[in-house]
Symmetry: C2
Subunit: 467 residues, 2 copies
C-alpha cells in the first residue's frame, strides 16, 4: 500500500477540505460500532468531478478510499481499518429537485434523511424509510446500507424508493443508473446493485427518490401480552386481517424490565411482550382499523390495550420504545447490537433460543424491534472491560447466527455487513453466490480501492486466488 | 461456434426432452415479436442440476443457451439468433410452497403467473404483477424481463415482489440469492441484478415471492375527455389526491376510433382521451375514493363519467380496453409495439410528438397504456409487405426514442431490450454504465454462452475490445 499523496488531494479539494492533523483525523475514526481506525487523511469533495479525481488518485497510488456520510452505521462500514482516505460526502447536501407532480426528489448523498422528509411533507408527500438515525443519518448512507426502519413492514425499505443514481466508479467518471420513472427495464438494474453495496462498488453522488402521498392520519396502540406465543400469533393475525400496520414494534420481557427500572412508567414487568402498533391512512378507516387491531389483540390474549389518537397520547405510548437505548446504558456500559431477521412466524422460537443462550452464557440479552417483518434487534449487554463476559457474548452471537439461519432467517435486516459481520457472511451466502459477488466487485473495482476489507473477509484463500 | 453435442444433451435430459427435428425446432423459433430464429436444438430440463449440466456443456462446446418460458416476450429475447440451444423451463412448473402466515410463495420458473395468483387468492392473498400475458406467461419469464402491468401504478412491478432466487450460473452450480424476509442486507443484491437481466447472466430455477393481503373490493370508472391536457391533468390530480388507483389506463383518440370502428360500442370518437380508473381496498373507502376520483375527473373537464361496482358493469367498462389488440388487427396486419415511459406530467407532450410523427411519416400510430406511471404503449401500424411504410415506421421509432429521452423518460417500461431494442440501449444508458453492465456480464458469464447478442449490441467496437 503506497502513501496517500496529500498534495495531490489538496489540489483536488482545496486546503480547507483536506484534514491531515492527528486530532482531526481521529474524529473520523469511528462510527456507531465501537470500533476505531484512524485514516491517513479525510477529504470533503464538492462534486462528482472531485470524487472522480480522488478515485483516480487512489487507483494510481493504491490507497483505500472509504466513502462516508454521517457515520451512524452500526457495523464499522466507514472505518478506514486499512488506512487510506475517508471520503466524506456531507458537502454534497443539496436537495436538487422536488417534483410534487411526478412525486420524486433528486438529492445529493449528504442530505439528512429527516430533512428530505420534512421538505416532502411541505408538499403533502412522504418519504417512508425511517432508520432510527434519520435525524442525522444521510440519504447517501441510507442508500449504501440499504437502510430500513419500523415503517418497512408497510412501506418497504430504502431500495424500494431509489429510482436512479449517479455513481462515480473507480474505473472512470460518473455514470447514471435507473430512470425517473418506476417502470424501466433498460439494461441491468445497476441501481439496486449499488443500494446496499456499502461503498465497495462506487461512490454515490446523486440519488433520485420516489415519493408517495402522505397518509392522512395515524392511530397508535400499545398491547400487553402475558404470553410470548400469543403476541407472535397476534402479529400474524393482524397481518392476515388485511390491515398492514405502518409500525408493528415488539419489546420482550427483558426490554420491558430494563425500561421500567430506568423510567418507572408503570409497565407490567411480568408481561412477556409488548406490541406497539400503528395504523395509518384515510381518516375514514384508521379508527375502524385501530378497533379491529385492538379486537385482534384482545382475542389473542392481550391483557391490556391502550389506544392513542392525539400526538400527546401517541408520544406517551412511544415513550417506552424510545427509552430503550438510554435504559440499556444502565444495565451495562456496552452492548453487542445484532439485527437478525426471521420469517415472522418464527419469532417465538428465536426469542426462546435467545433466552436459552442468555441462561447458558450468563448474559443479559434484550430483544426488541420490528416484529411485522421479523427484524429483531438483539442486544447482548456487555462490559467491554470484562474479557470473560465479552468472550461469552461472542460465543452467544455465533450460536445466535446459526439459529437464525436454521430458522430460515438472515443475519442482517438493516445494518449490513461492514467489518463486524464479515466473518459470518459466508454462513448465509453460499460459495457460488459469494464468488459471484466477488466477481462483481473485481469487475467494477479491479484495483480494490473502494472500502477494501469490508463485507468480504479479506484473508480467505479465495481472495488470494481472486485479486 | 462449435456444434451442439446432441448426444451429450440427450444423456442429460433424456430423449423425450430433447427436440432435434426441423419441425419441432421451428415451433421454438418465435416469441411475440415478429422475429424468427430456428435453434439447433430445444431442451427441457427437469431440475437445476440438469440446467447446470447443460450450461457446463455449453461452456465446454461453446454453444449459446437461450433460456425461455412461454415465449410471450415482445422483444425477441428468447430467440436463438446465434443458433445453439433453447432451454425451455416449462417442466419446472411446481408451486413448491405457499406460506400464508409469512405471506410468501416459492415457485419454479415455469409456473404460469395467473396460476400463482389463483392459488394465492384461495388464501386471501394477492400477487399483484399483471402483465397482459399473465394467463400464459411464466413467472420465470416475468422475472427475466422484470414484467410490469396496469397495477404497477399502485403495487409496483415484478422486482418489488421477488425476495430471493435460485440461479444456475454458467461458471458453476446453482446459487441462492436473497432471503425469505423483506429485510435483508447481507452482501450485494444479486436478486435484483438477475431480475430483468433477460437470461443473460444465469438461469433462474426457483423464485421466492412476496405476497400481500388481497384488497377487499374494487370500483371501476371510465371517463371521457375532449381535451388531452385535461386528461393528463386529471391523472396528476388523482395521484395528488392521496388516492393511488390500482389501475389508471389511458386510450388516445386513435385507439378510441380503432376500437369503435371494430366494435360499435358507442364510444365518443370525437373525444381526445379515455381514462379507465380503478380503486381498490377496504369496503368502507372504495366508494368514497371512487366518488372523489369521479369529482376530480369532472372538475378537470371530463364530459362523461361511468362507474361500475358489479363484475358485469366492470366487464362492460373494460371491454373497450380489452378490445384494443383485435381492433388494431383490422387497421394493419402488423404493428411495431413500443412501451416507452415518461414522467407522467410529460404524457401530453409525448402524445403530441407522436401525432406529429404520424402526420410527418404518414403513419397510423395508436397510443394507450398505463398513464399512472407514464408507460404508454405506442403502436405504429404497419403492413410488413409494404417496404416503404416499414422504413417510415422505423424512422418514426428512432425519432420517438429521441423524444422520450428528451422528456426524461425511458425506452422500455416493461418489455425489455432483447434484440429489437438493443441498437438503442446506448441512447439511454451512458457509456460508463454500459461498460459496467458489460463488465458484470463478463464476470458472471465469461464464455458468453447465455443469450449472447441480446441486450448488448454484439458488433460494437467495445465488444471486440471486451470479450
Amino acid at each position: 500500500m503506497n502513501a496517500v499523496p496529500l498534495e495531490a488531494l489538496q489540489r483536488v479539494v482545496g486546503k480547507p477540505n483536506l484534514l491531515v492533523s492527528a486530532e482531526e483525523r481521529f474524529t473520523y475514526a469511528f462510527d456507531a460500532s465501537k470500533l476505531e481506525a484512524v485514516p491517513d487523511a479525510v477529504v470533503f469533495p464538492a462534486s462528482a468531478e472531485e470524487v472522480s479525481e480522488i478515485l483516480a488518485l487512489a487507483v494510481r497510488y493504491g490507497f483505500p478510499v472509504v466513502p462516508r456520510g454521517a457515520g451512524s452505521g452500526m457495523v464499522g462500514g466507514v472505518l478506514a481499518q486499512k488506512g487510506g482516505v475517508v471520503l466524506v460526502l456531507t458537502r454534497l447536501n443539496r436537495i436538487l429537485e422536488l417534483d410534487p407532480e411526478n412525486m420524486l426528489a433528486v438529492v445529493e448523498p449528504g442530505v439528512v434523511t429527516g430533512r428530505l422528509q420534512a421538505e416532502a411533507a411541505r408538499h403533502g408527500l412522504f418519504y417512508p424509510p425511517d432508520p432510527a438515525s434519520l435525524q442525522f443519518s444521510t440519504l447517501g448512507g441510507n442508500v449504501a446500507t440499504g437502510a430500513g426502519g419500523p415503517r418497512a413492514v408497510k412501506y418497504g425499505v430504502t431500495r424500494d424508493y431509489v429510482l436512479g443514481l449517479e455513481v462515480v466508479l473507480p474505473t472512470g467518471a460518473a455514470i447514471r443508473t435507473g430512470a425517473r420513472t418506476i417502470k424501466s427495464v433498460v439494461g441491468y438494474d445497476l441501481t439496486r446493485l449499488f443500494v446496499g453495496s456499502e461503498g465497495t462498488l462506487g461512490v454515490v453522488t446523486q440519488i433520485t427518490l420516489r415519493l408517495i402521498p402522505a397518509p392522512e392520519t395515524v392511530r397508535t396502540l400499545l398491547a400487553v401480552f402475558p404470553d410470548l406465543d400469543d403476541a407472535a400469533r397476534t402479529v400474524s393475525a393482524v397481518m392476515r386481517s388485511r390491515i398492514i400496520p405502518s409500525t408493528l414494534e415488539f419489546m420482550d420481557r427483558a426490554t420491558i424490565e430494563a425500561v421500567e427500572n430506568h423510567l418507572k412508567l408503570g409497565l407490567p414487568t411480568e408481561a412477556e411482550a409488548i406490541l406497539l402498533i400503528e395504523v395509518d391512512g384515510r381518516h375514514t378507516v384508521v379508527d375502524e382499523d385501530a378497533a379491529r387491531v385492538e379486537a385482534i389483540c384482545r382475542e389473542h390474549g392481550a391483557t391490556q390495550v391502550e389506544r392513542a389518537g392525539t400526538d400527546t397520547e401517541r408520544d406517551r405510548l412511544w415513550k417506552a420504545r424510545r427509552s430503550i437505548s438510554p435504559a440499556l446504558g444502565r444495565i451495562r456500559s456496552g452492548k453487542i447490537n445484532e439485527d437478525v431477521t426471521v420469517p415472522r412466524t418464527r419469532i417465538p422460537e428465536l426469542i426462546r433460543t435467545i433466552r436459552d443462550l442468555a441462561a447458558r452464557y450468563d448474559l443479559v440479552i434484550v430483544n426488541f424491534g420490528h416484529a411485522g417483518d421479523g427484524n429483531i434487534h438483539t442486544n447482548i449487554m456487555v462490559d467491554r472491560k470484562d474479557a470473560d463476559e465479552l468472550r461469552r457474548a461472542e460465543r452467544a452471537v455465533e450460536e445466535l447466527f446459526r439459529a437464525v439461519i436454521d430458522l430460515g432467517g438472515t443475519l442482517s435486516g438493516e445494518h449490513g455487513i461492514g467489518i463486524t459481520k464479515s466473518p459470518f457472511l459466508q454462513w448465509e451466502v453460499d460459495e457460488g453466490a459469494f464468488e459471484a459477488m466477488w466477481r462483481i466487485k473485481r469487475a467494477l473495482d479491479p484495483a480494490n480501492i473502494l472500502n477494501p476489507g469490508k463485507m468480504f473477509v479479506p484473508n480467505r484463500a479465495f481472495f488470494a486466488k481472486g485479486s
